[in-house]
Amino acid sequence: VVHHVVVWSATYFYVSQSDKGGLIFGGHIDRYNSYAQRGNLANWSETMQGLASLVPFASRLRLLRSWGGIMDMTPDGSPIITTTPVPGLYLNGGWCYGGFKATPASGWCFAHTIANDAPHPLNAGFTMDRFDKGRLIDEAGYGPYNHLQ
């Protein structure tokens, strides 16, 4: 029933359909530091409301399972895809909540970074020391406050 990944920015909600037929959907982060990996009722409610608003018939479906994890947030909300001071060690992380959808492009850039031991121009700015140097990639416009993202 859903042929694409649908992202709805009004509440931060996304939904897609797996090959087995189930709908996979998710919503916002907790907005506070947590290692609990279980989410909370307020976020569940917001996510369910997102689905029911966007795809009303889905309100009659059963929820099979749910998942909560730890998001690797960076201060400016953008990932780190870079070489490191340790030879042979490369880092691709800090994806905040955007990782899955950007995987093809970021994987390609990361492979280029590893093969050449130097970043591709596309990910040259996504360094670890950009915070120290004041060269943030501030796409969301929240500055260095990842709890606002």
Binding site: R31, Y32, N33, A36, P75, F131, D132, Y145
Partner: protein, 107 residues
């Protein structure tokens, strides 16, 4: 769902509050020129698994700023103090706040 005991309003759902992150940091004086001190204050966070001092504001009610001591693994809320009271008592000099405190004297 967290339930936070606001010292002014009583126990409320966390949906009434806004989260403002680590309360254990102290910032250099505005005139401080020391870049390392600013980087440390603005960007570096310990992000502990366990007890965490953090700012919350009771945005949808009294709008007071609070410092909450919360366990980030179990979500137990151990203490809630008005932010002002906590800074006056300053019983817990937070980890990592040491080097950044007296940079204001920098010319």
């Amino acid at each position: 769902m967290l339930r936070i005991h606001c010292p002014y309003c009583g126990v409320r759902d966390h949906e009434e509050f806004s989260y403002f992150g680590d309360a254990s940091k102290s910032y250099p004086g505005l005139e401080a020129q020391n870049r390392e001190a600013w980087v440390e204050a603005v960007f570096m966070r310990n992000n502990p698994k366990g007890e965490h001092h953090e700012f919350w504001q009771h945005t949808l009610a009294c709008r007071r700023w609070l410092v909450v001591r919360r366990n980030t693994l179990t979500h137990d809320i151990l203490e809630v103090l008005p932010a002002r009271e906590r800074s006056l008592n300053a019983t817990q000099p937070a980890p990592g706040s040491g080097p950044a405190t007296d940079q204001g004297a920098h010319p």
